[in-house]
Symmetry: C2
């Protein structure tokens, strides 16, 4: 079932990844699916949300800055990072501490 990410009470961390794609797939879809599968097995992974229209926004949620740093250094993830310019004309990574949360 599609749902917004179910995260624990704050504080925890969010990585907001916003991007504009290049033309063509260039293994993007397969790599993105693989990265999500690997990320979701990392210690401290809490959830993931993603949507793309003109711009793409993906948010991953993490228990700690250490968990984010470990995922950034993951060997498969580093291999994907090295291909960033094949897939993105522009991207921005923002590492955030979630202070407060509400909703229904």
């Amino acid at each position: 079932m599609i749902a917004t990410a179910q995260t624990p009470p704050p504080p925890y961390y969010a990585v907001i990844f916003t991007s504009l794609r290049t033309d063509g797939d260039n293994d993007y879809a397969a790599t993105a699916a693989q990265m999500l599968e690997i990320a979701s097995q990392q210690p401290g992974f809490l959830g993931f949300e993603s949507a793309r229209q003109e711009i793409g926004i993906s948010v991953s949620y993490w228990a700690s800055l250490e968990a984010i740093a470990a995922w950034k250094e993951n060997i498969m993830h580093r291999k994907a990072q090295s291909r960033a310019r094949d897939w993105y004309r522009q991207f921005r990574v923002r590492i955030c501490r979630v202070e407060r949360e509400y909703g229904f």
Copy 2:
């Protein structure tokens, strides 16, 4: 030109709004456009990014928690907030401090 939000050096704040829509428009599109126009005139507003596929993700960027609180209390915004259940089956608001940012 479509681009990722151009924000100042951290720290600053992000409000991550994730949602699942109800069926039908119910004035949603017009209200969302109006809210963005008003928000972007608020003191401390830094930028906005949005995309929707299965899930909707909108991120607004702000200079301070005070700026976020003032926008939350804006009278037009409060009127829109009171209609949340007309538009959303589910939503989550996460208020975050952006600690670090990079990209190209």
